[in-house]
Amino acid sequence: MDSSRTRFLLRALRPNGADDADPTFREALEQTHADPELGAWFAQERAVDRAFAAKLREVRAPDELRAQILQGVALSRRPRRIAVRRPLALASLAAAASLALLIYTLWPVRRAPQLSFDLVVTAAVRETADFAAPEFASDSPADIRAWFREETVPIPGALPGHLADQPTLGGSIVEWEGVRCSRVTFSVPAFRAGSPSESTPEGATRTRSDVAHLYTVPRRSCSSQGVGRQPTIATREGATIATWRDAENYYVFVARVSAEHVQALLSPSEGLARAPDPIASRERNGASGPPSPARV
């Protein structure tokens, strides 16, 4: 191999030595040891290359680039600045964004469901198997509502039957799959008699039978089919569950009493012992006559 050919090959050797074992260069490298002039040339070549490669390594990427890459990929969207430079891409992006906005605006119920309603029911039943003291203990429905408002969790709307008239024990916040929901705990006097919870051990803080819970789940964060505006009653795992919805929320009412007890509580025509709450009554604008939906 003549000297010019050898030099030509050696110029393709990376300065960090990563290619030194490549058979393509073996003969050329051997010649650098045998030919002092070639050896000197190669040493100078490598020194210059190494110095220049080291300089390139000094060029640092902006501090935020790494985070931008990870964030951009996590969001699974194209980097904004690239799209902006392409008129066609920009137009497509604008059209897609407009369509998404339209769907988002006109179809709010089904946008981005994060929580399965069935999961809510299952979790609610299991959570209420044992009595847990409310986070915010209060017998004032108005105070509970104010606390929910402060905590930016859903506030129950109009409630069916006599539910709004029942004494409250307090409110709690529950979070499922990242969705914050509210829970109102009631004490329902009518549930005490003839309920399955008569076997509750003596001395318990409160018998399970008279305690009932109402979970309020924002509809925008929950997917569900078949939940109507009127309460539907079912039993599961020893609990009686009633579910319904209004414009804003889904509701899950859970009690450890018979379905008939719950039916009586939630039906406007059924007679039920009440413990009228003055605040709730005021919020119903002093309604009299047949029970109408009222707020907690």
């Binding site: 290619d19 300089k55 060029v59 990427a61 980097p79």
Partner: protein, 189 residues
């Protein structure tokens, strides 16, 4: 957040890719865009790459293609190799190079004609072998070696001009202007 494997890939290659993009595009913003776009494409399509050993070459190839798509849109740039320059580019003192800062070195590299600059940048980044550079560019191995050799000559002439600004260029040698200043954009309205 992306999977740990992806984060590892980003940690390992985002800086070399940024430097490659910077060398191609000549400014930081475009370099960032190119690096981001490359990883974005990887996140969408990388699973199709069966040979893990080719990830690195895939990333550099993708960035180069994205650069071509972005910067060649609407204009044709002829990549024609220049004839051999007979003149010797002159010796360079590695210690003098060591006194440069990284941005100045990159600016000198930017002065090299693009057809030589692309393989030369990949060469100095030291991430890819000449064979892998040939894959990135889609040219034969011999062509890569030829472009590396000529590119080095170009770069050294530029650096020598910087080191000895009063020295007249060798007759017959093409001296690429250095530094390559950006022309200010005219303001309208």
């Amino acid at each position: 957040m992306p999977a740990p494997e992806f984060q590892h890939l980003v940690d390992r290659y985002y800086e070399p890719l940024y430097r490659f993009g910077y060398s191609l595009a000549g400014n930081r913003d475009d370099a960032c865009d190119l690096a981001q776009q490359t990883f974005f494409i990887w996140a969408r399509q990388g699973h199709a790459l069966r040979d893990a050993a080719k990830v690195k070459a895939w990333l550099f190839t993708t960035l180069f293609r994205e650069f071509l798509k972005l910067h060649r849109h609407g204009k044709r740039v002829a990549l024609v190799e220049e004839p051999d320059l007979d003149t010797h580019p002159g010796d360079l003192d590695p210690a003098w190079i060591g006194r440069l800062d990284g941005e100045t070195a990159l600016e000198a590299l930017r002065g090299v004609e693009e057809i030589y600059r692309v393989p030369l940048t990949l060469f100095y980044l030291e991430e890819l072998s000449y064979k892998e550079i040939a894959d990135v560019l889609g040219v034969p191995i011999g062509t890569v070696m030829s472009r590396l050799s000529r590119g080095k000559d170009h770069l050294r002439r530029i650096l020598n001009q910087r080191a000895h600004p009063t020295t007249a260029p060798h007759e017959g040698a093409k001296i690429v202007s250095y530094p390559r200043a950006k022309q200010p954009r005219p303001h309208h309205g």
